[in-house]
């Protein structure tokens, strides 16, 4: 039932070999490794999904294939041509739609044709045909700001299809849409694809939504994050149209969840969930309310202290890439443990769940100082100083020895949020200083 692995005479549409990409300055430690040793093959007649969390470099890979960026090393071949030379074989659909607000729907769709010097009459005919195909008739003269999100993304699709690319690249095309609109658009796109009405040979899409990937793709490449690597390749053999409630569908979604957290289980070092060690650990900004909410949800019935991550995700209505950083932060502070796709509260976590506000803060402070090295470090510096004050600049500089400026900022912000909640130190935004003063 799979068309994917049928041996075909056709050449591969895209071949990516050993691609590595570093953002920022190469050489020194300041660069951020986003892709490492990535291989990918796109064959004719398939939809391939790149699935991963934010920071897994999947969008970067898509941009390397589209020719928007050139990877630091490795080769990208699109229809046997170098990747940065392929404006003609690929077209891209953007997460934010990327429509020109000052051009009408028709002018937006004509954009790519005009760039290629297609004569005005032919441009018009072809654009109208694409608009018709994608279900936008009647909106030709509208400006993007007059359209709903779903209609805007249809314009984005029509604009990509009208240049008749062999390969359609889609960068999280439905993630800026509400659930219902996204579902309609997915179904419409799949219908067009199955009926062969689009002038394309294959689709490569980036997503962080596991169900979306299972729903649409023939093959899914699962990426790890920091740095992005392909950690699994999963063939989806379910017949179209696929049903979300089909047990086989659910089993596959669960399986992918397990694989996305697999690295955590494979590595006994618990701190390893976040890149870097000790002070150099890059932390995500997660609100303490979110952490508390997750602990409570885990402690409450029917979970009773442990849950499967996919189940928890659908219970809390979170996407995998939203849920996992929260779970991993809990694990870092030993409020919970992750094993495979199970997450389980530790005794401290259980105590936190039933405690009052002040007791919660004390528990949080204790775990924060014990397991988040940066928080402990800031506190130690403040304790040592007679003034009980220290400029934030100093810690930012220290962090920048380990990571890029943006990550340093984010990590410091995360620790500030947690430290303020736990009342282990105060931070003054105006003066950009930490202090030990207790506002009482």
């Amino acid at each position: 039932m799979s068309t994917t692995f049928a041996p075909t005479a056709d050449a591969n549409l895209v071949e990516v070999r050993n691609v590595k990409h570093v953002y920022g300055k190469g050489g020194g430690g300041a660069g951020l490794l986003v892709l490492e040793d990535v291989d990918l093959t796109l064959r004719p007649n398939e939809i391939v999904g790149l699935l991963g969390r934010s920071g897994s470099g999947k969008s970067t890979l898509l941009r390397a294939i589209s020719g928007l960026i050139r990877p630091t090393s490795g080769t990208v071949l699109v229809q046997d041509m170098p990747g940065d030379d392929t404006a003609h074989g690929v077209a891209m659909v953007f997460q934010s739609f990327a429509l020109f607000p000052w051009l009408t729907v028709l002018q937006n769709v004509e954009l790519g044709l005009e760039a290629r010097g297609v004569p005005a009459d032919e441009r018009r005919t072809r654009a109208l045909a694409a608009i018709d195909l994608i279900g936008l008739d009647g909106f030709e003269n509208a400006y993007p700001k007059e359209l709903s999100g779903g209609m805007r993304q249809r314009v984005g699709l029509a604009r990509a299809l009208v240049v008749q690319p062999s390969i359609l690249l889609m960068d999280e095309p439905f993630s800026a849409l509400d659930v219902l609109t996204a579902e309609t658009l997915r179904t419409d796109l799949l219908d067009l694809w199955v009926e062969g009405r689009m002038p394309i040979r294959s689709i490569l899409m980036v997503t962080h939504n596991i169900e979306e990937a299972v729903l649409m793709c023939d093959r899914i490449l699962v990426f790890s994050s920091n740095p992005g690597r392909v950690i699994a390749e999963i063939k989806v053999d379910l017949p179209q149209p696929r049903k979300r409630l089909d047990p086989a569908f659910r089993a596959l979604v669960d399986d992918i969840y397990a694989r996305m957290t697999a690295r955590t289980a494979a590595q006994p070092v618990r701190d390893g969930a976040f890149p870097g060690l000790g002070l150099g650990m890059a932390l995500p900004i997660i609100s303490t309310n979110t952490l508390a909410g997750m602990i409570e949800a885990l402690a409450a019935a029917p979970n009773d202290g442990k849950a499967e991550l996919p189940v928890l995700a659908s219970e809390l209505m979170l996407e995998a890439d939203e849920l996992l950083p929260i779970a991993e932060t809990l694990q870092l502070m030993r409020f919970a443990e992750i094993e495979g796709r199970m997450i389980r509260l530790t005794p401290v976590g259980r105590r936190y769940a039933v405690a009052e506000v002040d007791a919660r803060k004390q528990l949080f402070a204790q775990q924060l100082l014990a397991y988040v090295p940066l928080a402990a470090h800031i506190r130690r510096v403040l304790d040592d100083r007679a003034s009980r004050q220290a400029p934030a600049r100093r810690f930012r500089d220290e962090l920048e020895d380990f990571m890029s400026e943006d990550y340093a900022e984010e990590t410091l912000d995360a620790v500030i949020t947690w430290g303020r909640y736990a009342e282990v130190f105060a931070f003054h935004e105006d003066a950009d200083r930490f202090s030990l003063e207790d506002p009482g």
Partner: protein
């Protein structure tokens, strides 16, 4: 610095009700008449400009009101000629700065300094150059005047365009690259449209700013050279010399009419049209409107006449700039070396320039002069700061009061903007008459003139800020009975602060510029003078003492830059960081 548009609610309010009165077909006639009239005026004016220089002496400025329309047309023509140059300058220089790191290194600081150099400074040094360019022809003086107006317009426009280019939305940039737009297509489809709203606003501000120097640039006196170009500026200068109050009044009325005409017929339609270029994906709540824009949109005949032209233009082959592919430097060490080399060259040139100025100035001046000029600068600085403070105390409460009442705001806002555009210096002589009559101390009473024209920036920005206070904040404040001083401290002042800073910054820059014309005023062959850097430069200019002018201008630039860096920029940063809603 570029000017931020405080709001768009005021566009075309004055004559909004007039929109429905024009039937579609009459619209064509109106537009055609206007265009024809403009064409006649332009040809007439152009013929005048090409006259030999002796013509100026044969036909001196006559204070007969019959001549005023012609003078007004000539002045406006000069301003638009300068505007065309400014736009060209903007597109070339700002694009260069945004695209090339090496050019950016030179252009951005240069623009920053140029916009703090008083406009008259450019005039003093260039008039002889331009007169030499067209010997014996009026065109040379015209070019000098147009150049002076250009220097009052270009810098903030270029800055605005540069900033737009540097903040292009990333997704649109990627889409443009992914679909393979050529640089030419990219400019027209992405860069220019995105930059348009800010550029239009800055162009309007530039026009307002350049009115201020019309008098100075049309009646040029540098040492022994005195030339008066026919125009409103020269008319005013003659009227002031003779002390003819009626002539001044006539000129004021004419200027008002001219400003209203080009505002209604040119800028408002452009603002209304430019609204579609705002990059937000949501439709604006209160789109700017213009009756004349509606007239244009309703025309039936004109679009048909214009269409063949636009089609023909579209068919023109895009200028295919030869794609120069410089050999890519893959070795980071060499690339960095080249960057350092370039930096060294730039610094070297700058040092050489500074040295040249020092040599030029020290030929006749001593260190004592420099100390004296810095002292005068401190005097003018004190004036500027005190005046801004006084104007703030007056206009902030009034502006907040107006801004909270939408009906009033809608009425007052265009008037405030009109006053900001109006060259306040035409009223100076009248004030001087009063000072002379009362034997008041010019050191104090000449000062308010500096802010006469620029205080309106504070007013209309504060109005815009108060009008933008979110309703929920106002409701919360009234629910908790937050009143009087607490209300000002917690609601009003923080909300308007970012707007106020924009206004005060503009007013401060304008006041420095104005000091040159405000600290020395002539009325009926009488010179009244206040001690300060402005009067120092003005006196040196009329004496033709170039080293003194150079010294004065350099010192003033230093003062303006220091004030911007130490006061306004930090406040701006604070406003953006803490008080952004």
């Amino acid at each position: 610095m570029t000017f931020l548009q405080p709001d768009r609610m005021n566009a075309g309010l004055l004559i909004r009700y007039a929109r429905r009165r024009f039937a579609p077909n009459r619209a064509d006639i109106i537009a055609l008449l206007l265009i024809a009239g403009a064409a006649v005026l332009v040809t007439q004016a152009a013929r005048t400009m090409g006259r030999p220089l002796t013509g100026l002496n044969v036909a001196p400025i006559s204070l007969n009101p019959i001549n005023l329309p012609m003078y007004a047309a000539l002045t406006t023509l000069r301003m638009f000629a300068a505007l065309a140059c400014s736009l060209l300058f903007t597109f070339v220089v700002a694009t260069l700065a945004a695209k090339s790191k090496k050019a950016e290194l030179v252009i951005v600081p240069a623009l920053d300094i140029l916009q703090s150099v008083p406009v008259l400074g450019f005039l003093t040094f260039t008039v002889t150059f331009f007169m030499g360019l067209f010997p014996g022809n009026e065109m040379g003086v015209e070019a000098a005047a147009i150049f002076a107006i250009f220097t009052a317009q270009a810098w903030n426009m270029a800055f605005s365009f540069y900033q737009s280019l540097k903040t292009l939305p990333e997704d649109l940039d990627e889409a443009a690259r992914q679909f393979g737009l050529s640089p030419w297509q990219r400019f027209w489809k992405l860069e220019l449209p995105f930059a348009t709203p800010a550029l239009v606003w800055n162009t309007m501000m530039s026009m307002s700013g350049s009115w201020f120097f019309i008098v100075a640039s049309e009646a040029i006196t540098v040492g022994k050279t005195t030339v008066a170009l026919p125009g409103i500026g020269a008319w005013l200068s003659v009227a002031n010399e003779r002390g003819d109050g009626w002539a001044v009044l006539w000129a004021v009325i004419t200027m008002g009419v001219v400003i209203i005409i080009y505002d209604q017929l040119l800028f408002r339609p452009i603002v209304a049209w430019a609204d579609k270029f705002r990059a937000e994906q949501t439709a604006s709540q209160d789109p700017p409107r213009s009756w004349f824009y509606d007239v244009i949109k309703r025309m039936r005949l004109l679009p048909r006449l214009v269409q063949p032209m636009t089609v023909a233009l579209g068919r023109l082959p895009a200028p295919q700039a030869p794609r120069i592919r410089l050999p890519e430097i893959n070795n980071p060490a060499i690339a960095r070396g080249l960057d350092w080399l370039w930096l060294a060259v730039v610094i070297g040139m700058a040092l050489w320039g500074g040295w040249a100025v020092v040599i030029f100035v020290t030929r006749t001046l001593t260190l004592g002069d420099a100390v004296q000029v810095f002292g005068l600068g401190a005097l003018t600085l004190a004036r500027v700061l005190i005046l801004i403070a006084v104007a703030s105390v007056i206009w902030v409460p009034i502006g907040v009061w107006i801004g909270l009442r939408p009906i009033w705001a809608e009425r007052v806002q265009p008037v405030a903007q009109f006053f900001a555009a109006f060259p306040a210096n035409v009223l100076f002589p009248a004030v001087v008459g009063v000072i002379v009559a009362l034997h008041a101390d010019p050191n104090i009473w000449l000062s308010p003139l500096m802010i006469l024209g620029t205080q309106w920036y504070i007013l209309f920005n504060v109005i815009a800020g108060a009008a933008a206070i979110p309703n929920d904040l106002k409701e919360a404040a009234s629910m908790f009975h937050v009143r009087s001083w607490q209300w000002w401290r917690t609601v009003a002042l923080p909300s308007i602060f970012p707007y106020y800073i924009t206004g005060a910054l503009t007013a401060s820059g304008g006041s420095w510029n104005a000091s040159i014309v405000a600290e020395v005023v002539t009325w009926r062959h009488q010179n009244i003078e206040a001690a300060g850097l402005g009067s120092y430069i003005a006196d040196a200019t009329s004496a033709g003492d170039y080293p003194k002018v150079a010294l004065g201008i350099a010192v003033m630039s230093i003062f303006v830059i220091l004030l911007n860096r130490t006061l306004w920029r930090p406040l701006y940063g604070f406003a953006a960081r803490r008080l952004h809603l």
